[in-house]
């Protein structure tokens, strides 16, 4: 067995096991750490597919940014040692059945479909090409989605600050008057 196959098996086993643990763990902080493992092994898969830039983005943004944000909000909103009670077995069983049926249907379709192999020469993905494509307006350019995503990120940042900031004493008084 070639080394890349061994790496693929390792990464996929890690992804499957830790994603199941993420959604079943009764301790919320542990679930967040399992999610971190899933994200790191996903970036390993991206390295295997030769998308080094995206793997680096995955590591810094997901594993470094979002997981830290999630852990911070866990520490702000719940006690670490607290186990939450399991939701009812009925809900668990029906959700598991729905997920299993969906997964089976998708896997059967994937195995059934004949993907036509390509004969095109693979393109080298380097930073220069990525930057040029992101800012080009030509046929292979992505300048419009790039600009839209920058506006979206700005809007999300402003919205997060406005929503999460403390209520000023004046508006708190107004709320008390209303109640």
């Amino acid at each position: 067995m070639a080394s890349n196959q061994i790496m693929f098996i390792l990464f996929s086993v890690m992804i499957v096991v830790f994603s199941v643990l993420t959604v079943t763990s009764r301790r919320i902080l542990r679930a967040a750490v399992y999610l971190l493992f899933v994200l790191v092994s996903t970036s390993g898969l991206y390295f295997m597919l030769n998308y080094q830039f995206l793997a680096a983005v995955q590591l810094t943004l997901y594993a470094g940014g979002i997981v830290v944000l999630i852990i911070f909000s866990i520490l702000l909103t719940s006690h670490i040692s607290q186990n939450f009670e399991s939701s009812g077995w009925k809900k668990n069983i029906f959700s598991a059945i729905a997920a299993l049926i969906g997964a089976l249907l998708s896997i059967i379709t994937i195995l059934d479909y004949k993907f036509s192999a390509t004969t095109e020469v693979a393109q080298e993905v380097n930073m220069k090409l990525i930057g040029k494509s992101l800012l080009s307006t030509g046929y292979d350019g992505y300048v419009l989605p790039f600009e839209i995503i920058s506006v979206l990120l700005l809007a999300a940042m402003v919205a997060a600050i406005v929503v999460a900031k403390k209520v000023s004493p004046k508006s708190a008084e107004l709320q008390n008057l209303k109640q």
């Binding site: 196959q5 199941v20 079943t24 919320i28 909103t77 940042m157």
Partner: protein, 105 residues
């Protein structure tokens, strides 16, 4: 790098990850764990995009740029969701979805 691994393996892996996320989304009651399930779902979609790009259209970069945009949307979604969750916690002192059932401000 990816010789000897069929495309289907990547797709099946992404499917399993996706439906694990769906299961978590349906069964969890804590808002933050629901957010974590959504992150799992978005990640599995990214794997699909990249595998299709590498195996079927290696001379183009569409899948990669779609993944970049999905990651950006996921990041802004997580930021706004966590701001809302913290606001809900201030008001109700809980983030259990079954206790947060009134929208009146």
């Amino acid at each position: 790098m990816n010789s000897g691994i069929p495309l289907q393996y990547f797709l099946i892996l992404a499917t399993v990850m996706f439906f694990t996320g769906v299961y978590g989304f349906l069964t969890r009651r804590n808002l933050i764990t629901i957010l974590m399930s959504v992150e799992l779902i978005l990640n599995s979609v990214n794997i699909n995009f990249l595998a299709f790009n590498r195996y079927l259209y290696p001379h183009k970069l569409e899948g990669m740029f779609f993944s970049v945009f999905v990651i950006a949307v996921a990041a802004s979604e997580a930021a706004v969701a966590i701001a809302i969750i913290i606001n809900i916690y201030r008001r109700f002192t809980t983030i259990n979805v079954e206790d947060v059932n009134e929208m009146k401000f």
